[in-house]
Subunit: 176 residues, 2 copies
DNA sequence: GTCTCGCTGTTATTGTATAACATCACTTTG
DNA sequence: CAAAGTGATGTTATACAATAACAGCGAGAC
């Protein structure tokens, strides 16, 4: 690996997911947040919903609904597409997962609970997806849109390329 | 290029498509540019390819591949999905159309020929799509990505909301 | 108890996209 | 001209993504 771990924890937040981190926390913290949220909001955290959250949290990459469904099926939690889509809809609606339009796939949210406008950095080599925060109304584009009278309601910002690790590995090699 | 806006007061070129304009030019200029480009690049501008370009240019909205295919079928230009997808791939690859990931649909490019990084403003009410230009490497997000060592290769920026016309029409009414 | 509401299970269908292969047309070259 | 090569086309079939529709079950309300 020898990832140089530049800026240890310093400026992080914008590219969390590409950096080395204690990944066990990603899952446990995420699930804990989901449990708390559902308790507070009187929402039913069913086995399927929790399991899908765990599945997504376990990987910093976007997973297709059918890929998730395959896992659910193996575990006897469901076998038909609506099972997966309903759980994903629940998670997305409540801010614990996002859909990556570019990939027609879903990824766990990095800052669960709070409503926000995510942006994604997608590595085409190792398929990891990092979530960053955007301020769509700021920036040239947001200003131009506002000036033109366009009223932004939702944004899709997805950047595809090579993550630091895959860049270091060299353009030709890539990594699985 | 530098198409005269028949409507004054909008100095923005970033939201072209929402503004009033001589729409006949959108089609004729676009096709002309495509003809020139293909001649210069020694590419075959086949009937299907040109017709698909015309279809897209005729509307400032994203069209699904199967919607385009329906038109081609009526005109005897093709009846199977690959016909439409191949033409669309050709146009996208050469910069005369873009895919709007959010809609799984395609839209004609506003500045054909030149390689650029488009952003889209999508009106959820009237379904018009305007193309704006972005500088992904600038802005907070681009800077954050660069700082994190992420190498951007392609960007998807799609803003959904209400266009000026539909905002003026009032939130409740909308317009077809 | 029983009523209600939301989650589940399932069937079926629609929509989006591509693989694979044979054929055809044009162009290059001998 | 003929042969070979290249790339577009036509077609079949299939994979992948998403939703509609409806029956049944279960926990909480009253
Ligand atoms: Zn992690
Ligand atoms: Zn990578
Ligand atoms: Zn126009
Ligand atoms: Zn509109």
């Amino acid at each position: 690996m020898s990832t140089d771990m530049s800026q240890p924890g310093s400026d992080q937040g914008s590219s969390k997911g590409f950096e080395q981190h204690d990944h066990a926390h990603c899952v446990s913290d995420g699930v804990a947040a989901l449990v708390d949220y559902c308790a507070a909001e009187r929402l039913k955290l069913t086995p399927v919903r929790q399991r899908v959250a765990e599945i997504l949290l376990a990987e910093h990459r976007a997973m297709g609904a059918y890929e998730i469904l395959d896992i659910l099926r193996e575990e006897g939690l469901g076998s038909q597409p609506p099972v997966a889509y309903r759980a994903l809809d629940f998670l997305v609606k409540n801010g614990f997962a996002h859909k990556v339009e570019r990939l027609n796939a879903f990824v766990a949210c990095s800052h669960p609970g709070a409503t926000h406008t995510p942006a994604f950095l997608i590595c085409r080599s190792c398929n990891k997806v990092a979530e960053a925060d955007t301020s769509p109304t700021k920036g040239d584009l947001g200003r131009a849109a506002a000036a033109a009278g366009f009223q932004i309601e939702q944004t899709v910002v997805e950047l595809e390329g090579l993550c630091p690790t895959c860049v270091d590995a060299g353009p030709a090699s890539g990594q699985a």
